[in-house]
Every structure is written in C-alpha cells, then in structure tokens.
Point group: C2
Chain length 511, copies 2
C-alpha cells in the first residue's frame, strides 16, 4: 500500500477527494485542527485510559516482531502467507476476541523466480553493467534466453506519446518520471508496461517509486491492459535510471533482461477476522485493520505488518480495558492487498447485503510513523473541489487545497464530529483531521457508502522502505507505533460507541 | 576516505587534533568565523574572479562524469585503476598543466571474488536467511566450503573483552557498535577481526559504518594485527546486524560465510602529478588533490572522484584565469588510498629531502557536499587539548571542544592567517576555519611537518553512500561541487602566492 488500485481510480473518477485517498500523506497542509465538543467531553476519561495503556503497550510490538522475524515476508499464494493467517487467527483467539474466523478467499500466486538485468552496451571496461532491479509483481517473464534490445528512455508518458511509433517498436522503454510522490510514481509502475506495449515495446523498466536514492529497487504490482500484449517489466534503482538517461544521451544503450516470473494456480487463503461484540447494537460494525500479505522482499514490517499489528493492539487494548462499545468492533487482517485485492472484495461480499450496518471502516496501511491525526474522506460537491488535477498539475504543484466550505452542511457536521474525536488525540500530537483517508482493502465497501478513515502520519520515510528489502522491523519505532495504536483505539472505540454515525461518501472502486 | 589509517592513529597518538583529522566533519561546532585582514584585501579581486568562474564551471563535472560512467570504480591492482591513471595524466596535459607525470608506485591487488553469507539457523520457513553483506577489503577468504559457526553477538569491544574466552573460540563474532560517527564505526571495521581472532574467533561480521539504515552493506579496509590469526571479515547491513542481535537473544544463531577473497601479486600503478610552476619561488610547493583509487563497488563518485575532480577543476581554473602564483601549485591524484597508502608514501619519498619546500598540503576526500569552510590542523599544546578522548567518551559525548587559547602565539597567528583567507570564501558560505583537516594521502608529509588542510562540508550524506554501490555520480550536486572547486582554488592560490607561510604541525602517521 498505498494501493495502485486507488491511485488508478484517479483515471476513472474525477474527484479530488479520491486522489487524496492515494496520496493522503501529501495532504499534510490540509489538516484541520481538532475542535473539542460534547463528544470530546463524553469520552475524555475513556480516552485517557486508552492513551495511558497504549503508551506502554508491548503486546502488539512483540507480535509484530514474531511476524517479521519468524514468518517473514508473505506474498499471496505462498505458504508463509497462510502461516501468517493461521498465526493471526490464533493471536486474535488468545487475545480473547469473539467470532474469530478465517474468511476464505482465493488469491493469485505470482512467483518471481530468478531475475537479472544488465546494460550490455555500452559496457564498462569490456563487461556488462549490472542493473539493480526487482521485477514488478504480476509481471510476465521473459523468454528463457531473456530479452536483449535497445532502450528508449523517456521521463514521462507525454514524451513517450510524442515519439514516432516506429522508434519504440522492439525496444525496451525506460521511464524516469523522477519523484513527485507515490501517486505519480506508482502510476508509471502500474500502467507503464501496457502503455509501452501499445507502441510495440518488448519490455519496460521504471525508476523505483521512492525519494531515497540508495541503489535500492522497489517492487510493486503492475496492471496489464488486457487489450495490449503483456510485456515483462521491472523496477530499477533511481541511480540506474539516471545512468541509463546519461548513457542514452551519448548513444544507443542496449539492455538484457531475464525474468523467470510466472503465475501459478490460485491458492486458497483468507481474511482473518475477530470481534468485540457490541453491547447494544451488535449488528452495527466499525471495522479496523490492514493487510496481512506483503511483497516477497524484506519483512513486510511497515507494509503492512505495522498496520495489522497496530489495529490488533488497539482492539486488544479496548478488550483488556473492559471497554464495551455499543456497536461491534471488528478487526480484519485483509488478504491479497498487494496484487489483487481479493480480501477486500471478499469482505465486501460478506457484508454487502447489510451494508448500512457497516458504520465506519478504518484502514492503516501507510506505516507506523508518528501520527498527525485522522484522515476522513468527505467529498466536496462544488466544482472547485470536484475537479481532479491532471498528472502534470500534480507534478508541478501537488494536490489542490481542501475547501471546507464546499462540503454540504451534513458533510460539514460529520467532519466536525471527527474533529471532536480528534481532540481526544491531542495529547499524542495526533489531533488533526485530514480530508483524506482510506485504503484499498476497504475500497470495495467505501464504494458502497461506508465512511472511510485512516491514520495520517508524518510520512517522512515510508517510501524509503516500501516494497524493498529494507522494510524490516527496525523501521518501526516503538513510540510511534504505540501512538498509532492509541489513535486507532480511541477512534474506533468512540465511533463504535457514540450516539450518531459519520456520513459516508460513495467513492467508486476500481476492480 | 576518511582513512582508517588516520582513524587508527587514535590508538597510537594521544592528541585530540589527530582525532579531528579523521572525524573532521563532526567538528562543525568548532568552526571559527572568518576575520578579514590585509591578506583578504590583497586577494579580494582575484578571489572574486575565481568564485565567478567556478560558479559556472562545467569542465570538472564533465570529467567526473566520464570517470564515473566510462571508467567506473577502480580498486588498487585493477586495470580500471591504471586506465584512470592514464586518463588523469591526459586530462592534466590537455588542461595545459606543466611537468605532468605518473610517479610509479606498487599497489596491492586484493580480489573480492564470490562471496555470500546466510543465517542458517534459525532459518525462516525452513530456509536460510540471506545476509546483505560485503567482504571487507584486504580480508582473507574462507576455506572453499566456507565457514559455518555459531555467532557471538556484541555491541562493543568492552562486551567482547568481558566474555569468557572459551565462549568465543570457534565462533563468528558479530559487532554492532551502532552509529556514533565514522571514527568509531571504522575502528570496529578495521580492528574488529584481529580483536576477535585474538580470542579464538574464526570469522567476524560488523555492522556497516553508516547512519543510513537501508539494507546497504558498506565495505572498507580492515587491518590485521600480524600477531593474530587472519580471519575472514565482512560488513553486513545495519538491518542484518539488528536481526542477528534479536535472534541471538532468543537462542543460538548459526551463520555460514563464504568468501573467495584473496591477494594477487602487487601491481605497478602511480600518482598522477601536474603543476602550475611558480613565477618566483617555483621550488616551493602547495600540493592539492585527492585519491584516484576507489573501492570495487559503485562508481567511486564521491569517494574520491569528486575530490580529484574538484582539485583538477581548481587548478585548471587558476590556469585558465592566467593567475600566476609565486609558488608552484601541484595537483596530485594519489593512488591506493583505500587499502595501503602506497601513493601517499611514494609522494613523501619524492619530496622528503626538501620537505621544507612543501608549503602546504590540501586533500579533499570527504565528498563534495556544500562546504562550510577550510579545515586547518594546528595542534594545541596544553594538556587540555592534547588529551585524546577515549572511545567510550567519543560514543557518549562526541569529540572535545577546540580551545583557541591553548595554541602557541605562532599557531594562533597562523590560524588567523587562514581566517583571513576564509573571509574570501564567505560569498559561497564557506568562510569558517575549522581546527581539523587533512587526509590520509598527505598524512606521510604532514608527519614531517607540512601544514595540513581540507575542505570541511556539511557532511550530511557522505556516509550514506561511502564504500557502497550507491556512491554514484548523481550524489555529486553540481552546485556544491562548484563551491568546492572555488574553495580549493582560492585557498591554494592564496597559499601559493602570499608572502608568509602557514605553520605546520608534525602529526605522526601510521604506516
């Protein structure tokens, strides 16, 4: 996460708030301050208990440590994922949650296999130059002997589109859009292969979607346009993208790409679900969680071990404090977020017929850096807020400002409810409400109108580690992790217990 | 660079100023402001010309680009190094320098070969865990089948020394001293193997000497104590050191290490030397340069491509501006800095019999980040400045403050001369003088009393890239690089032309 699915929704939905879903971290400047009110007063005592307990919680970090060090990364289709699923269910049972179950879902089984890439010409001192690469998830492989072809280097899709079609045919397209946030970076990663294939390219390489330039390739999924030939695609380090750019200015650059990537038959896996049943309205549900699968590199510590374990910590903490919300609080470790979204769809199918009973959905999938507040997606209805910026605008000036006045009175009131809840989080520096927040696992129910929330953090380093070998436990700072537990616990508890409900916004999901 | 040789001098020389040589970047707080004076006034016009010309210089960056992209890394003993040496001599000739020569020096030829390491137990899902490793330069290899042994994890030498000797025999010692600057980090890297071998260890792994935690191993030389068995040694990523630490708390950790590293016969290489002959005192020399060799990873862009190319840019710029200093300005690309120091010693042997004619030596080998000023080593003579801090003190509180009052009147005057020169660099933000500065290539002549200088930069990222695959051209910011050219050009030109001379300090060099 953040999911390319959500990013891609940019292309189909012209609404700035949808954009904000995918790049919520970039909306820091839009954070609205907390405003204390009756809800704040009512829950002050319980919130204080939660904050105190979270500040010394070790259970969730201990569980995260086990997940990272003894299960490790857990790509869809692997035995490790299902080990994690069973372990997650056990964890929920041992924590005393009710109705613990694994909701079955079939997930894809993409296998990376051996892979490598070199610049074969110009060589260096007579030998090829090894590229620092990671094949993109869901990519097809190359033929057995690999693909060797000249490179067409471009920064942007505009540059690609401006080239004569014949100049791309049979070539390997290399994109370096630079770093303008994950929304732009992941767009090139997810759609770049098919856009190149449409012009006759035989393979695609893309600069890793990161701001940290440290020879680290970042994987992530691609998404083929079924109308185009499927060509193999890989991420390369920012350094290698820059090297190819420099060499391509001097003359022809020829690259050899070898990838054994392939799909194996789908595998049964599942969402892990557990509950604290509501004391008065048990059929109304506040759902909180993250995704249990990860990419096949590193430990999946921040993406999204920290999300599921912070959510687990929050629900366990409410349980241990004997707080009994009126509505049901449901913890979900969704499956297959990274390359398919099977878990999110399965959960939607589970709840769709009573969708109005899904009171709110909170997903944590942006890492456990220090939280600044809560993201809550409310769509504006004026043209000013409804128009999505173009990619070019995004690359130039970032996302547009949020206009509170453009909300309906009902939306404003709902936003202010969140501001009252956020006031309870001011002691940990997380008192703001951001007009953005969600996650791709909850995308399918958000599309049906369920209110969509997420923790919003400082997001200083998440994309340094995301989808790499460096996404390891040490990246999760214990103190920041505990603050995220506190945020999730206070927010979900109040939403599950308070008299009113938040207003949802139907944001179309891209399947 | 910075050289472990200089760092090691810590162990043999009890002088804080020597310590400062190796960790000059940490002395930022000790920077003394520029003080304009007669020297400033005399050279104001020439300095302005230099600053203006440097601000748009492209020649040096173009040369650096060629070195990185078309010669690449250049470890001692490799054909690439000698390609770089010949290219460097050609570059000096084409720039119009005089007396261009390659001064022969025999250099070691250490070969990395294939290498790998795994945690074989505890495995992860039944398979070994691959470690992110780079063998240390000059390490011996393992036997053909590798070494498989349990690990002894320690943070510090103190912890190692506190263990019963029998608990280390036959084990692999793993150090994670954390990150307390390069002085401490490189001390563990250079001496850790022999200290472990002295207690019966069969191999050594050390956390990479860096503050950036991104699964990147950083190589660098080790230095065997001839009295101890030579055991193979490698750097591991900070993440892997932390993982071993966590696993070792739970039980026995067994590692397999395979390294084919070995020494081949020494190879003839050499220092590249060129001059602008002095107009009045041609036998008096101000020498400026860096080292032309690099480690065998990345491009050696900052370490020390940027140093030799900034020095080249500075001397070429003085030549192109038709500035004719009274003394000779000598540009040297020293050879074999990283793992032997043969170039520095050869240069000393060249000039030793007229050492008083070596007026000053400036080495740039800390990367071309934005310069803050000039480092100039003057030793204090009071006990307060003479006592070196212990490693424990360094790790707790950093290096000691510099005490200007502890200098002799002559040393103070010489320091103030540098402050007048630094005043010329205030327009580029490089107007401070730091009581620290040198480099390991000039160490042998500094030991004979030659005044020792170096640019001092912000040093924000140098150790993110140092001795890794990530030391590539993109790390060298053109604007910052040009400021370093300006600094070297102004400083060397004034030192070569002014009436007086700086005072040197004999700092013993470790051979």
């Amino acid at each position: 996460m953040p999911s390319p699915k959500v990013v891609l929704s940019l292309l189909s939905v012209a609404a700035a708030a949808v954009l904000s879903l995918s790049v919520s971290a970039q909306f820091g400047a839009n954070g609205q301050p907390a405003v204390a009110g009756p809800i704040t007063a009512k829950y002050q005592a319980d919130a204080s208990k939660i904050l105190t307990a979270a500040s010394s919680d070790n259970d969730a970090y201990t569980a995260l440590t086990y997940l990272c060090d003894h299960i490790g990364n857990r790509n869809s289709g692997t035995p490790q994922l299902n080990t994690a699923v069973q372990w997650g269910a056990d964890l929920m049972r041992k924590a005393g949650l009710e109705n613990v179950m694994v909701q079955p879902a079939m997930v894809p089984h993409w296998v990376r296999g051996h892979e490598e890439a070199q610049i074969v010409s110009p060589g260096l001192n007579g030998t090829p130059r090894t590229l620092h690469m990671l094949g993109l998830g869901m990519s097809v492989g190359t033929p057995g002997q690999g693909i060797t072809a000249p490179v067409v280097f471009v920064h942007t899709f505009d540059e690609l589109d401006a080239l004569p079609p014949d100049s791309i045919k049979g070539k390997i397209v290399v994109y370096n859009p630079g770093w303008h946030g994950y929304g732009v970076g992941s767009l090139y990663r997810t759609t770049g292969a098919s856009r190149a294939a449409a012009k006759g390219a035989v393979a695609m390489l893309v600069r890793s979607a990161t701001g940290l330039v440290e020879q680290t390739p970042h994987t992530g999924t691609l998404r083929y346009d079924e109308k185009q030939p499927k060509i193999p695609a890989a991420a390369i380090s920012p350094e290698d993208a820059l090297l190819i750019e420099r060499l391509a200015k001097e003359g022809t650059v020829t690259v050899h790409l070898q990838m054994d990537a392939h799909q194996e038959p789908d595998v049964e896996s599942g969402n892990v679900i557990g509950e604290i049943r509501g004391s008065e309205k048990p059929d109304e549900v506040v759902v909180v969680g993250g995704h249990i699968d990860s990419w096949d590199v590193g430990q999946g510590a921040q993406d999204d071990g920290s999300g599921i374990m912070a959510a687990y910590g929050a629900v366990k903490l409410i349980h241990d404090l004997h707080l009994k919300p009126k509505r049901t609080l449901r913890l979900v470790f969704w499956v297959n977020e990274e390359n398919g979204g099977a878990g999110g769809r399965a959960y939607r199918d589970l709840v769709a017929k009573n969708i109005d009973k899904q009171v709110a959905a909170i997903e944590m999938d942006d890492g456990a850096e220090a939280p600044l507040g809560i993201g809550y997606t409310v769509l504006a209805r004026t043209p000013g807020n409804r128009r999505a910026p173009t990619m070019q605008q995004m690359m130039r000036q970032g996302p547009p400002p949020f206009n509170m006045d453009a909300l309906t009175p009902e939306q404003q009131q709902s936003f202010q409810t969140m501001q009252q809840i956020a006031a309870l989080l001011q002691p940990i520096g997380a008192g703001k409400v951001f007009p953005a927040g969600g996650g791709s696992d909850i995308g399918p129910i958000v599309a049906l109108g369920v209110p969509s929330l997420a923790p919003i953090t400082v997001a200083e380093h998440y994309f340094d580690w995301h989808h790499t070998e460096a996404d390891t436990l040490d990246k999760v700072n214990l103190d920041d992790f505990r603050k995220n537990i506190a945020l999730l616990a206070v927010t979900t508890y109040v939403l599950a217990d308070m008299d009113g409900r938040l207003l949802g916004t139907k944001i179309p999901d891209r399947e």
